[in-house]
């Protein structure tokens, strides 16, 4: 025992922040340079391909002129879309706010029209002709995401008016484990963190989030989570995602965090058994501590019944000021103002490596350290907040 203590003393935990390389001028110049480089490469490739086709030395059956022109057509189409988006201001956040709002209005208007149902029945019967049948290996469906994105954009820009701080702490490339506080009775915070990165960050589009087991027992809900990029929370899945250099959002508090009483709001619960630290150590990924402010107020939990929930297979039945009282309308969250704060990444390597994942004492200590860091970020941001609804 004494020996172990000694060993533990020797390992003083140091947080090693990632050097903020791109502080003065953000990464945009590099990004533009990179983009130009890529365009050059595409052009070169194009010329080479055409050359090869002329000489017919590809070894494979040669591409026909038709194939090539259709490829160029597709390219032109895409460039047209991007340039349209830039000109209409859709790529900038101010423009996107109005776009998100008008798009949701259009959707609602469409739902009220007869055409929508005719199209729906048509699609149901004949299928969509140009449907992309591919999902990624975890069941994320890009076409489905395109379909539901307006709703999430509406929630993000217009309903909760999410403001984001510390976006520079998200690495431009490579893996990362976003660790955040969990709250809100229903798990909206994962999707909003994802939307924050996808909407605001210049280069990251691949945020995945881990979802609690119980969701997958439910009809519709589990499938929905899979299609929008959620992955069942288990070490195998998370390791696979990180090994492919994704950003992965985890909520180590789990059910205890999301289902805490309103009186305990913004008080972080126990961080599980430190599984996320083991994950970070094994895959050598930086941990990005993240604070979500505002999600506690969307469904203030007054009471929860665990006994009634047990036969349904869910962890609890929530009682909020609106939930059983207003029926399904109670499922509409309250429009609080949200802030998502990304903290400085914590890098455990090279001081701690995959071997240290078996040292439970160290894992618990590191886990507690991350928890305290997020708690500090939460309290600090709360101090700055004047109003729940207006920020």
């Amino acid at each position: 025992m004494a020996n172990q203590n000694k060993k533990e003393e020797g390992k003083v935990v140091h947080l090693k922040p990632v050097p903020p390389a791109e502080k003065a001028t953000p990464a945009f110049e590099d990004l533009i340079e990179k983009l130009e480089g890529r365009i050059d490469r595409i052009e070169k490739e194009f010329r080479e391909t055409v050359h090869k086709i002329e000489k017919r030395d590809t070894g494979k059956p040669p591409l026909s002129q038709n194939d090539l022109s259709s490829l160029i057509g597709r390219l032109e189409e895409r460039i047209q879309i991007v340039s349209d988006e830039i000109r209409s201001g859709r790529l900038f956040s101010d423009g996107r706010k109005t776009v998100a709002f008008t798009e949701i209005l259009q959707r609602i208007a469409k739902l009220l029209s007869f055409d929508a149902y005719r199209d729906f029945l048509k699609e149901l019967w004949f299928g969509r002709p140009e449907e992309n049948y591919d999902v990624d290996e975890f069941g994320m469906d890009p076409t489905f995401i395109q379909k539901v994105k307006p709703l999430f954009d509406f929630l993000y820009y217009n309903y909760w008016r999410v403001s984001v701080e510390g976006l520079l702490h998200i690495p431009n490339e490579g893996r990362g484990l976003i660790v955040a506080n969990h709250s809100g009775t229903l798990p909206y915070d994962g999707s909003m963190i994802g939307a924050a990165v996808v909407n605001e960050h210049p280069s990251r589009k691949d945020v995945r989030f881990l979802v609690e087991d119980f969701v997958y027992h439910f009809p519709f809900l589990g499938t929905f989570m899979y299609r929008i990029g959620g992955v069942r929370a288990c070490p195998e899945n998370a390791e696979r995602l990180l090994a492919k250099d994704h950003l992965v959002t985890v909520f180590p508090e789990g059910i205890k965090g999301i289902g805490k009483h309103y009186k305990n709001r913004y008080r972080l619960q126990r961080f599980g058994r430190g599984g996320f630290i083991k994950l970070a150590l094994r895959t050598n990924s930086p941990v990005i501590p993240t604070a979500v402010i505002g999600a506690e107020e969307i469904h203030p939990l007054i009471y929860k019944s665990t006994i009634l929930a047990r036969p349904l297979g869910i962890p609890y039945i929530p009682v909020t000021p609106t939930l059983p009282l207003l029926g399904p309308l109670g499922l509409i969250p309250l429009p609080s103002k949200w802030t998502v704060v990304f903290g400085e990444p914590i890098v455990f390597g090279p001081k701690y490596g995959p071997k240290d994942a078996d040292d439970q004492l160290l894992v618990n200590r590191l886990s507690e350290m991350v928890r305290m860091k997020i708690q500090d970020m939460v309290t600090e941001t709360l101090k700055k907040r004047r109003s729940i609804w207006f920020g």
């Binding site: 049948y133 591919d134 069941g139 087991d213 997958y216 519709f220 069942r232 195998e236």
Partner: protein
């Protein structure tokens, strides 16, 4: 005569080591037999089943026997010794869930015991066992990709799958007890292709398909050619251990059915289970209600180990496999292709 030389050698001596296949009337057994017949490397093949192989054979000696009869182990040992068998491929399993569960238990679990007893007594060099990824079971708590060392949890509801798991447990015990024998267990996932017939092809053939409402799990297919190639690789070279044999990529059930052009009827799970139970008793549906879990939850296996250790790279992805199956199906419907 296509193989005069090998025929001569067969007549001369029994000292050339032979390969024994069980279940040569089934899909894996018969396809593998065809492959081995073509391969000049193997001069003597022993086929063991209670039905004859479905085609003419040249190098193969057929023994008619039933693995469910008593003292099958002694009979097997007799064959093994007489024919100098060094490699055994055990594939005498029903592919589709059977109605007669006690017969299935006799064949799957007890039959395997007999085969292993004979193998142990003969001290054969190699034992290859055909399993399935269904032994993992479909659960909401499965990881997205099941690796070979994941616990086999398929037997909670299904006695048949419990027997299949029993086979693997026996094989792993056998491998531990007889380290001189190379024991390979191959777990192919749902096998599709132009020729294969099993309960899943029956499921995909019916024009109207009942699904579980609100559930759309990811599916994974492997092409029949790839499965047979994997077995052939395991015969040609030594790969001790368990391997998932799967195609690359996944497809959600809804898109599988759309690609196949089926009309789907989603039914809520609480209604569906008793209905399927009744239909199963009436022999209307191809599978008992315990298999409905595979329409509800995820059961996708990871083929990384086979790729790394066996260097087995599937030639057909999940989608290509499905399309080849659907294509053959359509040709069959308009009578351009012979029915199997």
């Amino acid at each position: 005569m296509r193989y005069p030389r090998t025929l001569m050698s067969r007549k001369k001596s029994n000292n050339v080591p032979a390969i024994a296949l069980t279940g040569t009337a089934g899909f894996v057994g018969s396809s593998l037999l065809r492959e081995l017949e073509k391969d000049p490397k193997y001069s003597r093949i022993i086929a063991i089943d209670y039905r004859k192989p479905p085609f003419e054979t040249v190098k193969t000696k057929f023994y008619r026997m039933d693995l469910t009869e008593t003292l099958a182990d002694s009979k097997l040992l007799e064959i093994f010794e007489k024919e100098n068998v060094q490699t055994v491929v055990h594939a005498a399993f029903p592919v589709s869930p059977p109605h007669d569960l006690s017969w299935a238990h006799e064949l799957v679990s007890v039959g395997t015991m007999y085969v292993m007893d004979a193998c142990a007594a003969r001290k054969i060099k190699k034992l290859i066992i055909a399993s399935t990824t269904e032994v993992y079971g479909a659960h909401a708590t499965n990881p997205n990709f099941l690796s070979e060392d994941h616990p086999m949890r398929g037997g909670f509801k299904s006695r048949f799958l419990r027997d299949k798991i029993e086979v693997e447990v026996q094989a792993q015990k056998f491998a531990k007890k007889h380290p001189e024998t190379v024991v390979t267990i191959l777990r192919p996932c749902t096998t599709l292709g132009p020729n294969v017939r099993n309960y899943k092809t029956n499921f995909l053939q019916s024009p109207v398909i009942i699904t579980v409402m609100g559930f759309d799990p990811l599916f994974q297919f492997v092409h029949e050619e790839d499965v047979i190639r994997a077995f052939k690789m395991a015969i040609d070279r030594d790969f001790p251990g368990v391997f998932n044999i799967v195609g690359d990529g996944v497809l959600p059930l809804s898109k599988v059915l759309k690609l196949a052009g089926k009309v789907t009827i989603p039914v809520p799970a609480p209604v569906l289970y008793p209905v399927v139970q009744l239909l199963w008793y009436g022999n209307v549906v191809p599978a008992p209600p315990s298999r409905l879990d595979f329409l509800k939850y995820l059961s996708v296996a990871d083929g990384a180990k086979a790729k790394k250790v066996m260097n087995f790279v599937p030639r057909h992805s999940t989608k290509e496999t499905l399309l080849s199956f659907i294509g053959a199906q359509r040709l069959r419907e308009i009578n351009l292709l012979e029915a199997t």
